[in-house]
């Protein structure tokens, strides 16, 4: 299992569009991927779930990836966060 933490720098937090883009990105991998904030964990392949976390700027999210392609998934998603959020 791979995991990383990220502090959101986008002033709007994870709003609808980046949530959608993230779901698309996560959907490319076979691994089980979750994203958590303050102990609430949701499936990263579900847009409503991610939006329901209500992630705002400066919140810390934890992404967990488990599966055969976890190595690539981890580096791709971490890069996605840095670039978009």
């Amino acid at each position: 299992m791979k995991t990383f933490e990220y502090t959101i720098t986008d002033p709007e937090g994870i709003h609808a569009r980046p949530a959608g883009l993230f779901v698309k990105e996560a959907g490319k991998f076979a691994s089980k991927i979750t994203i958590a904030k303050d102990g609430k964990e949701v499936d990263a392949k579900r847009i409503f779930g991610i939006m329901s976390l209500g992630v705002k700027k400066d919140n810390v999210v934890t992404v967990k990836i488990e599966g055969e392609d976890e190595e690539t998934a981890c580096s791709t998603l971490e890069a996605f966060f840095k670039e978009n959020l």
Binding site: E12, A16, R17, G20, D43, R46, G49, G54, K57
Partner: protein, 541 residues
């Protein structure tokens, strides 16, 4: 004639027939079904069609209103494929043996409630998106979809409210104006209306009587008024306004998107002055590059007590967001002199223009000042805000202000409230400030010259006294020399200097200002393109 009114989200005047738009308000029936597998297959088919329609809408919106506004339909597609949403619908069909329409309606309610309950205005607004995609699904499944809103002639749409998907489905060249009974200034519909350049009035008290359908109406998008069967006088008045709009539009077409650069390549920052968040629509419409003066007084004047930090934050944030990354220079409160408010308990003064006002109140009653600064810094995360202080006369005042600003930033940091660094500037509107502008320039990021007060103080002419009109001459060499001096001192210290007073919009001086090296002019939105025209025809050398 019947007059209705609402709040304007986009200017312009339109006249034409009224089209009363009603949603297909199908009551969704709950039916028992025998074959759940078959019902799920029917649902999946409907979902595929809905996705296809959303893709088409996305492509249409992309063409009509641009990528930023079209994005909503891409997000809608993702929502429609959300596994939680689909699981819930499948589960209800299977377990409760109910029809797909009812399962969608139930799921829609549950998800919309979840968003409505979040403590975040943006997420609360997403409840409308859930309802929008669900209504589409239900209409497809129950075969009641009315996809084409084709009109014989251009119309003015009146509706309870419009979903974004409904707004873009109207044929663009058949839509004269939008009037809704609900809606907010930040709704997608309002934004789309702005992008489509048609007048829009929301929260209107119009009655959607079937008998009004087809009636002749005029919508004044400047005042938010709607005239049904207007009388002769109103018609004439509106025709004049429409002609003015057309002339402005022609100028717009010619100059919109063009740079504010002189013939010899000198660039000017051409910004607009506003006094209310609702003026932003006009700023964008006239294509100003930013807001050079946002007077914060409205917050105090429209209130019966000191506006709270939260109220102020919301107003500043809305403007910063709507300007989408363009600069917004907000001036701290300029109460006093001719703008008084009861709850400030200001004493009556012999000479209020030189009295207890503006920054003087802020420095004497720092709690009022700090509330405003906290709101401004909190809003800074949402756009490109700059702060400007009025009525400065000395370097000491500026240093004191900067100390208070540091305290506010420290407090916000301790509370881990996010904020950005903002540019701090001052108004140059007293002769004293002009004379020490060399020193002041080392303390701040920019100067904005307030020519109205500067003229009054320099020429010793009371602006309020009508008898003195002949003596109030802002073209006086004293004033022009002062402006030149301020610009020189600003440039020597490596900062920029602009003009936000009435004089900035004086077209007979635009060339003079450019030659002096003035970096920015902030004028009323309606003047932006007129100034641009001259800038583009001027040579400074």
């Amino acid at each position: 004639m019947i007059t209705f009114s609402g709040s304007s989200v986009f200017g312009g005047v339109a006249a034409g027939r009224l089209f009363i738009f009603r949603k297909n308000e199908n009551q969704v029936e709950r039916r028992h079904i025998e074959d759940a597998e078959q019902e799920i297959a029917r649902f999946e088919q409907g979902k595929e069609l809905a996705l296809k329609q959303l893709q088409e809408l996305y492509e249409k919106a992309l063409k009509d209103v641009g990528e930023a506004n079209a994005m909503i339909f891409e997000v809608h597609q993702m929502m429609l494929e959300d596994l939680d949403y689909l699981d819930s619908i499948h589960y209800m069909i299977k377990e409760q043996q109910i029809n797909a329409e009812f399962a969608v309606a139930q799921t829609s309610d549950n998800f919309a409630e979840m968003f409505a309950a979040m403590d975040d205005a943006y997420m609360q607004g997403r409840a409308a998106d859930v309802r929008d995609i669900s209504e589409r699904l239900i209409a497809i499944l129950s075969d009641t979809q009315n996809n084409t809103y084709a009109f014989e002639e251009p119309v003015i749409i009146a509706a309870e409210d419009l979903a974004p998907s409904e707004t873009v489905q109207f044929e663009k060249d058949k839509l004269l104006a939008i009037v809704t009974r609900q809606g907010s200034a930040n709704s997608h519909t309002a934004i789309l209306a702005r992008t489509m350049d048609i007048p829009a009035v929301i929260q209107a008290n119009i009655v959607l009587e079937p008998e009004y359908h087809g009636a002749y109406v005029i919508v004044d998008g400047f005042t938010g008024e709607i005239y049904l069967d207007p009388d002769e006088e109103t018609r004439k008045k509106m025709e004049v306004k429409m002609a003015e709009c057309r002339a402005e539009k022609e100028l717009l077409q010619e100059l919109k998107g063009k740079e504010d650069v002189t013939l010899d390549g000198k660039e000017l920052k051409l910004y607009a002055n506003i006094g209310n968040p609702s003026d932003v629509a006009n700023v964008l419409r006239n294509d100003a590059r930013g807001i050079g003066l946002f007077r914060s007084e409205f917050l105090y004047l429209e209130s019966s007590d000191f506006p709270t930090e939260e109220e102020q934050f919301k107003a500043y944030r809305a403007v910063a967001e709507n300007m989408a990354g363009k600069k917004v220079i907000i001036r701290t409160l300029d109460i006093g002199a001719d703008k008084t408010v009861d709850y400030f308990n200001l004493e009556k003064e012999e000479n209020p223009a030189m009295g207890y006002r503006a920054i003087r109140i802020c420095l004497k009653q720092p709690e009022i000042f700090k509330t405003q600064l906290r709101a401004l810094y909190r809003a800074s995360s949402y756009g490109q805000i700059a702060i400007m202080f009025p009525m400065i006369t000395s370097v000491e005042e500026v240093r004191k202000i900067k100390e208070i600003v540091e305290e506010v930033k420290q407090e916000l940091t301790e509370l881990s409230v996010p904020f950005k660094e903002v540019e701090l500037g001052i108004m140059i509107e007293t002769p004293a400030a002009v004379m020490v502008s060399d020193e002041l320039a080392k303390e701040v990021d920019f100067f904005s010259i307030g020519t109205n007060d500067l003229t009054q103080y320099t020429l010793a002419v009371d602006r309020q006294n009508a008898k003195l009109g002949d003596f109030y001459n802002p073209h006086h060499r004293a004033i022009l020399n002062m402006i030149e001096m301020v610009v020189k001192n600003a440039h020597a210290a490596g900062i920029w200097a602009g003009i936000c007073g009435e004089l900035g919009a004086d077209l007979s001086l635009t060339e003079t200002f450019l030659k002096m090296g003035v970096d920015e002019l902030s004028v009323s939105p309606a003047m932006v393109l007129r100034v641009r025209k001259i800038v583009r025809e001027t040579r400074t050398e």
